[in-house]
Symmetry: C2
Subunit: 445 residues, 2 copies
């Protein structure tokens, strides 16, 4: 009998699967993984008949297995600045705290250690891929490869000097070098990240657009995060920042608009017409008092909306379970309609939609045969997640990242029974504490 | 030397203490507990000199120790309905789901098992006391005493039949019987809980007020949760629900107004003038689309604001860390001011303010010598809470209930190294699953 069966690396039996490929839940199924890919998700009896797995992982009692979460916007290395400036407004936060700290401390070593810390936090919490907009992307790349995490390295472009690059051209050059060096890696993808309309001038935007088009890269940018950003641009130029990007040719399916808290009807038309994407960062938008993005209305217009944590300095958790829950809750409370952004929609935002935003939707984002095996297992047996009437609801409203037990990225089990397999946790904690001492010396505390 | 030292039961050394009695953090201190009371919180060297403890607990490396969290509003037994009706509006939620299920299933056995489940979840997550507004309070009392948790049993009063009581008098009678039976217990306190202005008529309100005054009991009620509740009352009577309660003599330091999402200036004046309390339930208010209570403005007016989870059917976590974080975030995002409800304020809301609301402020709510020892320890060593620039910020914005390791209630250690000492977890999970089967049979799923 076993002669006829297909040999694969791994079989996972789970009580429930949430495939995302289609809505709802599958019970009594098995997921087959071979090398880096999902081979099949099918009823257990069929799995018995058709596949022989070298490793059989039994999560059939209590676990729900789903695609890994995609954190569609973060600044990973800023994990080292977690909580360094809380309860202050966005302007003061940037000008009096974050920017001076970055100028003083950000180096390749800082980025490597900070990204390692962030990757460990994200992986253990079920996030298997992030888009990381930060400096010294080569150091970040090394951190992701060491941790076994998937990442989109979004090369920052600014019109001023930062982290050793003196202008937009130099920033772009840096980003392209990193892309050239790491293009062969199956875990890494790339994007261009002009910081924001207000920090990048027309000439630089045009270069970004040309380059993104030539190299088929996404363009990730902070867009209309605050009301002032939109109002100031309107007052100064008669155009919203997004209308300006539209004139510069930046709109299209490559554009990933992060935050998009304050959009007018015209802005929403632009996003919808061009197939642009939005990354909703609800915690960061609340914490920095930017406001509440009415994303249910974007979804209703057909705009693809993904979810992101933003950096740990404005969140302070890199926790996609927290973002899912908050997105679902905020959409209801701010609209007065409790049926908005139901749990299934939010799970899709945190997986497939994030992948789609960066052109990875055919490779990750759902439990689909042929896709890369980015998979997480969540234990719903604890008292805090009992009873369980609907695993989809339970994942969004009751469960948290603390219930994630196992994580696979690209077919490799990088978290096993709550322990990261590739990360030296005590050594990493020590490095975080060393940075704490250095950064504290530069703060007012 | 030891002859001269005072003998006490327990000494806890922690890296940081957040006493709440005053703002900020104490380092290198020790907390001394004898029998059910806090004896002292003082520098370690002084503790060495003055006290000899039978048990010495060393949390000096990584832990912050603070008062236990007070969940100022829940319906504990509804933990058995966690997630049974998500993504629906308040009216449909109550009329089509919750009330029919309650009529069909709520019994003393249901309340005992549901309260046991809720108490386990709350204790393990650092909540040492809750105000529990639910039926069959005698069964709930038994569950709290078995779990070793402190609770305020808030006896529901309704003008219609529920859970075996046929009218307001019968409901009141039930509540008083439970109070008489359990008055001697050091863990239990009592309140009267007229469900809401719209479910309790003037006559019944007058009885409640008289009785509360005679027996010195708090009056907990759902107040102006939705805009419709306020608008309908105004249209029908020319008075807001709170103005009506004021005319009925219900306002005063005994009144605990739960939700209070939609208050006019006149309402806020009434609350402030009479020293009434508000319980803010941010998750529940979002999830049922009631709205966002502008509690920072209440705090600014001098109103005592506490925090609550509401029941698990509308939350779905009985998680005061989640409520703290959400309260701090929402106040900023909804007001446009990132300095509103800073971390220290929110910690106080979740501890001392909750105790004050129910007249327990002299007994619990802070690490103060002479108060009852309701104490929790939170481990900040995990990578997700590193680095730590400010333990107060870290508790609110980065930590979660999953970082609570040890819990004392009334001097007894009821959670030790993340395990409840008095609760049979597998047996409780089994009971929850049995109720799941019974309740599922009655749902559309």
């Amino acid at each position: 009998m076993s002669d006829e069966r297909l040999r694969v690396d791994t079989r996972i039996d789970a009580r429930w699967f949430v495939p995302i490929e289609r809505d709802g839940v599958l019970a009594e199924h098995s997921l087959l993984i071979d090398s880096e890919r999902i081979v099949a998700l099918l009823p257990r009896a069929e799995a018995d008949e058709r596949y022989a797995a070298r490793e059989h992982i039994d999560l059939a009692q209590h676990h729900v297995v789903m695609p890994g979460l995609v954190n569609a916007h973060t600044h990973a290395a800023m994990a080292l600045m977690r909580g360094i400036a809380d309860d202050v407004g966005l302007d003061a936060w940037l000008r009096d705290h974050i920017w001076p700290l970055e100028v003083a401390h950000v180096s390749a070593e800082f980025v490597h250690d900070g990204t390692s810390l962030a990757a460990a936090e994200m992986l253990c919490g079920g996030t298997t891929c992030c888009s990381d907009m930060y400096f010294h992307a080569d150091a970040a790349a090394r951190a992701y490869l060491a941790a076994g995490m998937r990442a989109i390295l979004a090369a920052p472009v600014l019109d001023f000097a930062m982290a050793g690059a003196t202008n937009a051209d130099a920033h772009l050059q840096r980003g392209l070098e990193v892309r050239d060096r790491f293009r062969g890696s199956p875990l890494l993808a790339f994007a261009l990240a002009p910081h924001a309309p207000y920090t990048v001038g027309d000439e630089s935007w045009r270069k970004v657009v040309t380059l993104a088009h030539e190299l088929d890269l996404p363009i990730e940018t902070h867009l209309q995060e605050t009301r002032a950003e939109r109002d100031d641009a309107l007052a100064a130029s008669g155009m919203t920042p997004l209308a300006r990007l539209d004139r510069l040719g930046a709109t299209g399916p490559a554009l990933v608009a992060v935050h998009a808290v304050h959009l007018g009807d015209g802005d929403l038309d632009i996003l919808a017409r061009h197939g642009c994407h939005v990354v909703h960062c609800p915690t960061s938008n609340l914490k920095l008092a930017a406001g509440i993005a009415p994303v249910a209305s974007y979804v209703a217009r057909g705009v693809n909306v993904a979810l992101g944590t933003d950096g740990a300095a404005s969140n302070n958790r890199l926790d996609m379970f927290a973002e899912m829950r908050l997105a679902a809750l905020l959409a209801k409370g701010s609209s007065g309609d409790a049926t908005q952004l139901p749990a299934q929609t939010v799970l899709r935002m945190a997986t497939q939609n994030g992948a789609d935003a960066y052109g990875l939707g055919a490779r990750i984002g759902s439990l689909t045969a042929g896709k890369l095996a980015d998979v997480i297992a969540v234990d719903l047996s604890e008292l805090a997640t009992q009873p369980c009437y609907d695993p989809v609801s339970q994942l969004v409203y009751a469960a948290g990242r603390e219930h994630v037990t196992d994580v696979w990225v690209n077919g490799e089990r990088v978290v096993a029974s709550r322990s990261p397999t590739r990360i030296d946790v005590p050594a990493l904690a020590l490095r975080a504490q060393r940075w704490h001492q250095r950064l504290s010396a530069g703060t007012i505390q």
